[in-house]
């Protein structure tokens, strides 16, 4: 059992950290939290800038086969992710780079790969996900948006929802019912579509903090080329499962929290309450130490997931455990930080807000990670059914 990095990996890691630090120089102060890139134009521009810089270095194609411009391996991807997490650097499209690209490499035709992978690798094409519907959330397979084949096109109708950044995306991937007669799980097709297609209407959904990074997307006879398919027709469910397996290891969220901890420790050392630094308060010491333990546990579990992925031994159970643990740890940490900040913990980014209001943002941004990509309750089911082999009630 060996947690060490090779000299080459250490060199790569330093390069990743140096670049992300440098990119931090152009970071707009309005960029607070993970989802804010979809909000303000200057944040989205910064996201695109970082993406193009990473694209030039070939870092959006880490772990890809060299014929598609790839280099490095999964471990490089993890190290890159750590550095981005630490500096909160955007520029890696979670939908295009992290989820779709590996799916295309495994399940798409050569033609599709040749068309869609290079723009992803260059950081030019931004993607969104079109899965959930108003009546198909956790039970995604009960979806009802349709794609009817006519000649060499599919004609799309219906509604998708909770589509992060759909209003910014160039492209979307999603599943649509193509065979209303077939049984569940064999009735849908995985399609790639241009978000500028006529007949597509995108409406941001106001989130509980007043921001709107998530959208609903309406399809009204939107025409999509029939060749924009991944996997077999009507067998989109298999692609959905494949893509869901390319969950992030979670390491960038963890490193972001690690940096958050460093900043909070500094804040506690510098800030006096009751005539002494907050850092001298035994309750704060104890609570921050516990969060530090949990963060380290999270980091080692993320390494475990990455180590498995690196050997193509993905364990559904470990990935689900990671997802549950990281997201709920994020909540616990945000609540603790807001407790420590006292009344200042409720301040959004402003001249009064300590640490640029990051903890106010985190207080509610972590909801999303406990719900998206399969709610934590679904993840617990996955561990129970597929990991522990417990019976499924029908």
């Amino acid at each position: 059992m060996d947690f060490s990095l090779t000299d080459e990996q250490k060199r790569h890691s330093k390069e990743f950290y140096d670049t992300c630090k440098e990119l931090g120089g152009k970071r707009p102060s309005s960029l607070v939290g993970f989802e804010a890139i979809y909000e303000l134009d200057e944040c989205w521009e910064y996201n695109l800038h970082c993406a193009r810089e990473f694209g030039k270095k070939g870092w959006l194609a880490l772990g890809w086969p060299s014929e598609y411009g790839g280099s490095g391996d999964m471990m490089d991807r993890v190290l890159f992710s750590e550095a981005r997490g630490y500096y909160g650097t955007p520029g890696v499209d979670i939908f295009g780079v992290q989820m779709l690209a590996p799916t295309l490499l495994q399940a798409a035709s050569e033609e599709i790969r040749k068309q869609f992978l290079p723009p992803i690798a260059r950081g030019e094409a931004m993607w969104c996900e079109l899965w959930s519907e108003p009546n198909a959330g956790s039970d995604l397979a009960s979806l009802s948006a349709t794609a009817v084949k006519k000649g060499d096109e599919y004609i799309l109708n219906g509604q998708k929802t909770w589509n992060t950044g759909a209003h910014r995306a160039d492209w979307g991937f999603g599943v649509f019912k193509t065979d209303p007669e077939a049984r569940k799980h064999h009735n849908m097709t995985f399609l790639l579509l241009d978000m500028k297609t006529p007949g597509i209407t995108i409406r941001p959904i106001p989130y509980l903090d007043g921001s709107a990074p998530y959208c609903e997307v309406y399809f009204d006879d939107a025409r999509v080329p029939a060749r924009n398919i991944v996997g077999q027709e009507h067998e989109g469910w298999a692609v959905v499962n494949l893509l869901a397996g390319f969950e992030r290891s979670g390491i960038n969220e963890i490193m972001s929290m690690m940096r958050g901890l460093e900043q909070l420790v500094a804040f506690c050392n510098e800030t006096e309450r009751h005539g002494r630094p907050l850092a001298k308060d035994p309750i704060i010491r104890n609570r921050l130490a516990q969060i530090a333990c949990e963060l380290e546990a999270a980091r080692t579990l993320a390494y475990r997931v990455a180590d498995l992925q690196n050997r193509n031994e993905m364990s559904l159970m470990d990935a689900s455990a990671g997802k549950i643990f990281f997201s709920e740890l994020g909540e616990r940490f945000a609540y603790l930080a807001c407790d420590i900040l006292g009344p200042y913990g409720q301040l959004r980014s402003s001249r009064w807000a300590p640490l640029n209001g990051i903890w106010e943002k985190m207080f509610h941004e972590h909801f999303i990670t406990t719900i998206s990509m399969g709610t934590n309750e679904i993840q617990r089911n996955i561990i129970a059914w597929y990991g522990l082999g417990l019976p499924r009630m029908r």
């Binding site: 947690f3 506690c268 050392n269 130490a289 516990q290 380290e296 546990a297 561990i383 129970a384 019976p391």
Partner: protein
């Protein structure tokens, strides 16, 4: 990075699992709990034949020369089977001998430890019950070539069967509590030593040991006079990692037994494991175990690689203390009333979670170390 066991570790793990399943049934665990000794010389002899006591002892001292990490792999299996007896006490006392012993001391003790001839333990805690240097009051006073030790040690693991104790004594009122501390290797049969088993939750033979003018030769001093505290800290750190590995093994059994029972037990005409209220709890137990597991493995790897790991060791101990307590509690809860019976195996684990969390430093003790290491002023 490769987070798999090495081939040697796989073999060690499997052979330990097979051996303990045959040689240490729960009937024996219970019998030893109820006995005065808490120790089976027959089992000890067989373990020595497998080379376990000499696992980390270098070959030049007739050990096997495996790494600290290998040892934690073995200890995890012991935890899985709640192995009773003085293994942990002995191996923990071996650390400071390997680290600070003179060649003469090593030659005298290490081969005999490896052979299973000696049973060692460390006497650290006293009335204050804390693992920091301020808790050390027991005095050792120099008289010519000897030291005379007087005072009382508490919670001394398996002192009732130990042949030797590493006694942590105060030889000087130093400028700060961690100065003026000296370690002695004390033959347990020296006149003036009296012990009594303390009645603990786990019935694991923690002892009160009274030293009444116990004379120890200066050549049995371990390390330098009055500069012994760093040796104790190193031992506590290794002990904390080893204990956490043992706990993770125990947690694994709690999870396995609970999942197996949930598939077996029928209520409302179905296996109770089909109910999501229970499934989610079992998922959480498993997740708690896995998060703790890699924290322990990381600390064990760092210790084994000679990397500074005070923070990681304390993180592992603080975190796993609670994982063990909570998972063993939930194991009882999900079994229902049946597992509150003293005849059931789960309580063996639950009761040891209490013993494990105090050994080598409590949760809050280790959290304070973490607080310092993350930079809180």
């Amino acid at each position: 990075m490769d987070l798999r066991y090495s081939e040697e570790q796989e073999i060690l793990k499997q052979s330990a699992r097979d051996f303990l399943a045959t040689e240490c049934p729960k009937t024996l665990v219970r019998e030893l709990e109820r006995s005065e000794e808490g120790h089976s010389p027959e089992l000890w002899k067989k373990m020595a034949e497998l080379g376990w006591m000499g696992l980390i002892i270098p070959e030049e001292y007739e050990g096997i020369g495996y790494t600290f990490q290998d040892l934690t792999v073995l200890i995890e299996e012991m935890g899985r089977n709640v192995l009773p007896g003085p293994f942990m006490a002995t191996v923990t006392a071996t650390f400071p001998i390997m680290e600070a012993g003179t060649d003469e001391q090593k030659k005298e003790l290490l081969p005999r430890i490896a052979q299973g001839e000696l049973i060692l333990t460390t006497a650290i805690l006293e009335g204050a019950g804390v693992f920091d240097a301020s808790g050390i009051a027991l005095k050792a006073t120099q008289k010519g070539n000897d030291f005379v030790i007087s005072g009382t040690k508490l919670f001394v693991d398996m002192a009732n069967v130990a042949t030797h104790m590493i006694c942590v004594a105060r030889t000087d009122e130093g400028a700060s509590p961690d100065r003026g501390i000296t370690l002695f290797i004390v033959d347990a049969s020296t006149p003036g030593i009296k012990w009594e088993v303390m009645p603990t939750t786990a019935q694991d033979k923690l002892c009160e040991v009274r030293f009444e003018n116990v004379t120890v030769s200066a050549k049995n001093m371990l390390g330098k006079l009055s500069e012994g505290w760093p040796i104790v800290e190193n031992m506590l750190r290794k002990g904390a990692i080893a204990k956490s590995a043992e706990s993770i093994g125990a947690v694994q059994t709690c999870v396995d037994m609970t999942v197996a029972y949930a598939k077996e037990r029928v209520q409302y005409d179905r296996q109770i494991g089909a109910f999501q209220a229970l499934q989610h709890k079992m998922s959480d137990m498993w997740t708690a175990m896995e998060t703790g597991r890699y924290l322990v493995y990381e600390a064990a790897w760092m210790e084994s690689s000679g990397l500074p790991c005070t923070k990681e060791a304390s993180m592992a101990k603080a975190y796993v203390n609670e994982v063990y307590r909570d998972v063993s509690k939930w194991a009882i809860r999900l079994h229902g009333a049946i597992a509150t019976s003293d005849d059931h195996d789960i309580p063996l684990y639950y009761r040891r979670s209490k013993s494990a969390d105090t050994a080598f430093g409590s949760t809050d003790f280790h959290r304070e170390i973490v607080a310092q290491k993350i930079g809180l002023a």
